[in-house]
């Protein structure tokens, strides 16, 4: 076998392409971009309601009123601008990469705010001086563009890798801090702008999201995020416990109201389902376009065993038992739907699963066997009740008053944890490796003695069981189960969640589900365009970031351009590990 040398990229790559001519001015451009961003921060934005909300309160020339008191998106811009200037002048590794991330963030914040000001504040007239002006947004936008141009002109370095080791206890303490910050960040993102549909909720949320996203991207560019990830891997169990604790503490933050608990529980249902789908699509590489049917089957099973008036079976069972039964029945259907994988592959398999999904929807619509309620749905499903407590009520533990929905939230967190444990164990087991082998090259896997048939069906079965589990929860939480919740579009949305997050990864599926179900909640003023934007977003993701937000380290760059640094780094790591194992 011949080995081919892979030339290591130099620390500072030669700038190439259209911007190469600007390389000598890269630093100037970067500093200028940062300065313009800071200047934009202090310019008036507009006299519109946006400025009265939680994010910037005032519309005057901020510099003269509260030079140090900027808040909201002004604060984000100020921080980004200063950070960009510092980075441009200091000797920091991968500064081009970080500045690019900041620049993109500045552009996003400026565009969101500028558009909202223009859109909500009387059209293009809002950009005239007389009306109080959105040119702060425009100046910052120019600053952001300069930052990106300057970053690209100077060359984008590869992401640095840090190998610091600290005292284990210091590392653990650090992880606590990281998790707490993460918790507060999640709560802040979730609640920013308030409930969707009210005032400028959408704009404030998007602006904040852009800021958080850019900050995380910059951290990731610096390699610190990868270092923290390595840290969590060194303290695996500890980190998992911390995250679980943090998730259970969310109700104590600003997000601890009934509304947010309900939103979080709904996200949880889809996140759990997405993880299940991730086994089928992400690990085994079998595209399932009818997956939401299993969520539906689980939900209908639970509805029929719940004692709801519309259920014709007339048996009422306790919830934990119902969950198990729902999972088993969904799993049986999963095996049936999966059985064509013995003969069908690729695109054709996707169509087979789609056909099964459609058969499910049609049958449910026609109230098959009197089990689905047809177009009347199955309403009035009683809430989960354990130890005399209905889960839809608030609870008081000592002096602590927890909002209604809290118990459901805890329940779904536990369900997701269980699902994650299943997924993680499977992924790194013999079975998981077999799935991945099948995904990479089915014929080769078979040639190596993997019995591909049963293993593929098992992927469908397990994925369907997880969805069935989530479905049982879903039925009780919503109180109504209708076939309309399990149509083709929902399957596509779940698939999009898995892809958006990053196929084959747990955080990816959760993140993808969160994004896809929080965004519509927050952007109610666009609800008319929700699906239109969703469709366009799907096309754009496939075009520009097919590997998702969190690319899988162990996944071959099937969907990604080979130049993605994260994937290249991950592949090299995997290759190094494999070498280490052999020797």
């Amino acid at each position: 076998m011949t080995t081919i040398e892979k030339p290591r990229p130099a620390a500072v790559p030669e700038p190439t392409g259209r911007l190469a001519g600007l390389a000598p001015h890269a630093r100037t451009l970067r500093v200028l971009g940062g300065v313009l961003t800071v200047v934009g921060t202090y310019l008036p934005w507009a006299t519109f309601v946006l400025n009265d909300g939680p994010y910037p309160e005032q519309s005057t020339l901020e510099f003269f009123t509260v030079p140090y008191g900027v808040t909201g998106f002004r604060l984000h811009l100020l921080l980004f601008g200063i950070a960009a200037i510092v980075l441009a002048l200091a000797a920091v590794p991968a500064k081009g990469r970080m500045i690019r991330a900041l620049g993109v963030g500045v552009i996003a914040i400026s565009v969101v705010n500028g558009l909202y000001i223009v859109g909500e504040g009387g059209g293009l007239g809002a950009i005239t001086v007389a009306d109080g002006v959105a040119f702060g947004a425009i100046v910052a936008l120019i600053g952001g563009v300069l930052l990106v141009v300057g970053a690209n002109a100077g060359g984008i370095e590869p992401q640095p890798v840090w190998n610091w080791r600290l005292n284990p206890w210091v590392e653990r303490a650090l992880l606590v801090v990281v998790v707490v910050v993460l918790l507060l960040l999640v709560a802040a993102v979730l609640t920013s702008g308030g409930q969707g549909g009210s005032g400028y909720a959408g704009g404030v949320f998007l602006s904040f999201l852009a800021a958080v996203g850019a900050a995380i991207a910059a951290l990731s560019a610096s390699g610190l995020l990868a270092w923290v990830t390595a840290l969590t891997e060194r303290h695996r169990l500890y980190s998992v416990a911390l995250l679980l604790a943090a998730a259970l503490l969310l109700p104590l933050t600003s997000a601890g109201t009934e509304y947010w608990m309900t939103v979080a529980a709904t996200i949880g249902v889809y996140a759990a389902t997405a993880i299940g789908l991730n086994i089928v699509v992400g690990l085994a590489g079998l595209l399932d376009l009818g997956y939401v049917a299993f969520l539906g089957i689980g939900a209908f099973v639970a509805a029929n065993l719940s004692g709801a008036a519309a259920s014709t079976i007339g048996i009422t069972l306790p919830f934990p038992l119902v969950m198990v039964i729902a999972a088993i029945i969904a799993g049986i259907f999963g095996a049936i739907v999966g059985s064509p994988t013995l003969r069908v592959r690729g695109d054709y398999l996707a169509i087979v699963t789609l056909a099964f999904g459609e058969i499910f929807v049609r049958s449910a619509q026609n109230n098959i066997g009197g089990l689905t309620g047809g177009s009347n749905a199955i309403p009035n499903i009683p809430p989960v009740s354990l130890f005399g407590t209905d889960f839809n009520e608030g609870v008081e533990i000592g002096a602590l008053e927890l909002p209604p929905g809290f118990l459901y939230y805890v329940l779904i967190v536990l369900i997701i944890s269980a699902v994650m444990v299943v997924f993680a164990n499977l992924k790194f087991s013999r079975l998981g490796r077999a799935w991945i082998a099948i995904r990479e090259d089915e014929d080769a896997a078979r040639a190596m003695g993997i019995r591909t048939g049963p293993i593929k069906i098992l992927a469908f079965l397990i994925g369907a069981m997880l969805a069935g589990l989530a479905g049982a929860f879903y039925a009780h939480k919503l109180g109504t189960v209708s076939y309309e919740s399990f149509r083709f579009l929902e399957s596509v949305t779940l698939l999009a969640a898995v892809i958006l997050g990053g196929m084959g990864t747990i955080p990816g599926a959760v993140l993808g589900a969160s994004v896809l179900f929080v965004l519509p909640e927050k952007l109610r003023e666009f609800s008319e365009y929700r699906l239109l934007l969703f469709g366009i977003a799907l096309v754009l993701i496939m075009r520009f970031r097919p590997q998702g937000i969190v690319p899988d380290a162990h996944r071959r760059a099937e969907l990604a351009p080979e130049t993605d640094p994260a994937i290249v780094a991950a592949e090299e790591k995997v290759a190094a590990e494999a070498k280490g194992e052999k020797s």
Binding site: L287, L289, P340, R343, V344, G346, D347, Y348, A350, I351, V352, L354, A355, F356, E358, I359, R362, S363, Q365, N366, F488, L489, V492, L495, A496, I499, E528, Y529, L531, L532, F534, G535, I536, A537, L538, V539, M542, R543, P546, E558, L559
Partner: protein
């Protein structure tokens, strides 16, 4: 009852020839770039709405009532709009992914499908509900007495069958005998070597989309004229049927797509009539056929001969 059976056969053939017309687009695109162009059903829907828009907003009332004039205009408008949308879709959604792994274009196709359907729902006046479509052809039915009953045949139904078969025949002739048709077949068999012959694959692929979209646009108009009512869901639904038809006929096979369409039409009407569950379950039977074909005979029922694809 023989007359009931024959009526359902007639209905099945009418629906089937429409589905066959849509299936041609699926089959050709798959033949050339191995893409299940999920959005093709929406192209059919867009063609239907596009023709309706032209009719409603551009045609003077005097002409609206002259079917022999209005119908050809509608067909051309429907085809033209379908073609424009399809070309844009190919250029901006699919072409950038030409060399991407196969999952990516399939998901893109799903995205395009959702976006097109929603674009019509949001931007076409009153498209949230079904909208009436002009019956731009001779209305009424031809009643043929058979046994102790009658078999009604709608005139629009006859139109659909005749137009569909003519177009399918024309397409088949084009692909098999023209220079561009040869280029299409060459591109589908070996794209690199086709380039060495001086064939520009991009142009061939665009041509494929154009032909498929034009046929789908025509189908959209015929569909509306026959039923007198269209809604934004007709694309997904009939698109799935058409895809089934294309698979049934052996994907890449032009004659097969038409034959597959006719079979699907018959399965729907006869299944709804005679199988348990009745009409509410007629869709289910089509999907059962789809699964059965994919599992047991994925190459379709027309074998390997005369195929467009590699």
């Amino acid at each position: 009852m023989l007359s009931t059976f024959l009526s359902q056969v007639v209905n099945g053939l009418i629906l089937g020839s429409l589905i066959g017309l849509i299936a041609l687009g699926y089959t050709m695109v798959y033949g050339i770039i191995q893409l299940i162009n999920f959005a093709h059903g929406e192209i059919f829907m867009v063609g239907s709405y596009g023709g309706l828009a032209m009719f409603t907003y551009l045609l003077p009332t005097a002409i609206q009532n002259q079917w022999w004039f209005a119908l050809p205009l509608l067909l051309i408008a429907g085809a033209a709009i379908a073609v424009v949308v399809a070309v844009l879709m190919e250029r901006f959604a699919y072409r950038p992914l030409r060399n991407a792994p196969r999952l990516a274009p399939l998901i893109t196709a799903l995205g395009v499908s959702v976006a097109l359907q929603e674009a019509v729902r949001v931007f076409y006046p009153n498209a949230t509900a079904a909208v009436p479509f002009p019956k731009v052809f001779v209305e009424g039915t031809l009643a043929i007495p058979i046994g102790d009953g009658i078999v009604p045949i709608r005139y629009t139904g006859m139109l659909i069958i005749v137009v569909s078969l003519l177009l399918a025949f024309a397409l088949n002739t084009f692909v098999n005998n023209s220079r561009m048709g040869r280029a299409m077949r060459a591109t589908s068999q070996d794209r690199d070597v086709a380039r060495l012959m001086g064939i520009n694959p991009d142009r061939v692929i665009v041509l494929t989309f154009v032909l498929g979209a034009a046929l789908a646009g025509v189908a959209g108009i015929l569909y509306g004229a026959d039923l007198g009512l269209i809604n934004i869901n007709i694309g997904l639904q009939n698109g799935l049927f058409a895809f089934t038809a294309a698979v049934l006929g052996g994907i890449g096979n032009i004659k097969g797509a038409v034959a597959g369409g006719l079979v699907i039409g018959l399965v729907k009407t006869l299944g709804g009539q005679y199988l348990p569950g009745g009409t509410p379950y007629d869709y289910v039977w089509i999907f059962v056929v789809l699964i059965a074909v994919l599992v047991f005979r994925p190459q379709g029922f027309f074998g390997e001969t005369e195929r467009v694809r590699a």
